[in-house]
């Protein structure tokens, strides 16, 4: 760091605006830590103004005073200070703009949230559809495998008095004790009724309940059938919705005996 004498010599030049960039830097570093030289620097800064104070004053034009202190021109500094210092209109304007922008932002965010929620629901629905289709695909694959299996046996069920034109075809896999049954032309069941398929071995066992489509068709898959050799016949009755433990009536819609 430079010495006090050198700092004060540079301060003299700096006051008149003649210090070089390097001298200014050295002076700044010195003054940062030297109160005495800061005082000398201030004295030089005051002293140099004597050059200006010796000039004969020249009154500026009257209109300049008007512009500066009391005019109504837009660049009047006092009015500008008043406008920005004491008037609150700009605060109100800024607040209004802020609220408008904030409101617009909230509205935009709400729309985006709703769009997001809708898209999320759509994604859930598609995922469920995908799962359902995947399960259907799995089921159809299993059914196709059953139909194509070399050990699959076929049982035909014919329409009975309640539905003479109805029929059904059973594809039975004895080894897996599984069957797929296709029903055709059954009358539409009432809403409080279900068709129920019975596997008749030693006694009737429920093989499942089903509804038919508008054309009277239906397909069901039966798992865990009795041993094939025990199956004597298959028959369908119309039962209260959800099915019953044992047939409530002997009014069969389709029926067929096993030829196994």
């Amino acid at each position: 760091m430079i010495a006090h004498d050198e700092a004060q010599e540079i301060a003299a030049l700096d006051a008149v605006g003649a210090a070089s960039a390097d001298e200014e830097r050295d002076l700044g570093e010195h003054l940062a830590a030297c109160a005495e030289c800061r005082r000398v620097r201030d004295e030089y800064a005051e002293a140099v103004t004597l050059l200006a104070r010796g000039l004969t004053p020249v009154p500026p034009p009257a209109e300049l005073r008007e512009r500066v202190v009391s005019g109504e021109a837009a660049d009047n500094v006092v009015d500008a200070r008043r406008r920005f210092g004491s008037s609150k209109w700009w605060l109100a304007t800024a607040a209004t703009i802020f609220l408008a922008l904030w409101g617009w932002r909230e509205l935009t965010m709400r729309v985006e949230r709703e769009k997001y929620t809708t898209q999320e629901a759509e994604i859930r629905r598609l995922a469920e559809d995908n799962l359902r289709l995947s399960q259907n695909n799995e089921k159809l694959s299993a059914e196709m495998a059953s139909l194509a299996s070399a050990g699959t046996r076929t049982i035909s069920l014919s329409g009975q008095q309640a539905a003479p034109s109805a029929s059904a075809r059973v594809f039975l896999e004895p080894e897996r004790r599984r069957a797929i049954v296709f029903f055709y032309n059954l009358p539409a069941n009432a809403k409080d009724k279900s068709y129920q398929l019975w596997v008749i071995a030693a006694k009737p066992q429920s093989a499942g309940v089903f509804d038919v489509t508008g054309s009277g068709n239906a397909t069901i898959t039966i798992e865990n059938l009795p041993v094939a050799t025990e199956i004597k016949a298959l028959a369908v009755t119309l039962e209260p919705r959800g099915g019953v433990a044992q047939p409530s009536n002997s009014n069969f819609f389709v029926m067929g005996s096993s030829s196994l």
């Binding site: 003299a12 605006g17 003649a18 004295e43 005051e46 004597l50 200006a52 020249v58 500066v68 200070r81």
Partner: protein, 189 residues
């Protein structure tokens, strides 16, 4: 709150507080000196008026930066005006076009609103005479070097070139001149 134009009053702190009357008083008291300074620097009335207005804008907006412990308010005002004047001089590169005699372009406006009191005028005039006497005590070579730096914003090397004097000589002259001005300063504080 309103400010009197008493020479002992602290106008700038009042301006810092938003006192418009104080601001007007500052303008009325010092605008002539600042305008003369800017005419000397810029040599052009239009530029000088523009810069004077800018200087007063700065006074109004930065009055709270004024520190009476570091110097007088007139010195603070002169520093602002001089700094802006030199900036203008450099930015517009009008140095070469400048008139040597600034007064040649000065037109005294009869409509000038001089609101300083008779006492102020007397005090300011006395001070100016004393300042001139102090400046007159400076050797001419020192005074010229200082004036080239202060009013024309020339660097040490530019002054050296202008005066055809060695750089070291110019620097020494300016340092000696500033020391003398500093010694004379006590009479005006």
């Amino acid at each position: 709150m309103s400010a009197s134009v008493d020479s002992s009053s602290a106008l700038i702190p009042a301006v810092a507080g938003g006192d418009v009357a104080a601001f007007e008083a500052v303008y009325d008291r010092y605008s002539g000196t600042l305008y003369a300074l800017l005419l000397r620097i810029l040599g052009n009335a239009e530029d000088a008026q523009e810069v004077l207005q800018e200087a007063f804008v700065k006074v109004w907006t930065t009055a709270r930066m004024f520190d009476a412990a570091r110097g007088s308010e007139v010195a603070w005002l002169i520093s602002i005006a001089r700094s802006k004047g030199i900036d203008k001089l450099r930015s517009r590169k009008i140095r070469s076009d400048r008139e040597n005699d600034a007064g040649r372009e000065i037109s005294i406006h009869s409509a000038f609103v001089d609101k300083t009191t008779g006492a102020d005028v007397a005090i300011l005039s006395q001070e100016r005479i004393a300042v001139r006497n102090a400046l007159a005590e400076l050797p001419e070579a020192q005074r010229i070097a200082l004036e080239l730096a202060y009013f024309e914003g020339l660097s040490q090397s530019e002054i050296s070139e202008r005066l055809h004097e060695p750089l070291g000589t110019v620097k020494t002259r300016m340092q000696l001149g500033m020391k003398k001005l500093r010694e004379r300063l006590q009479a005006f504080r």
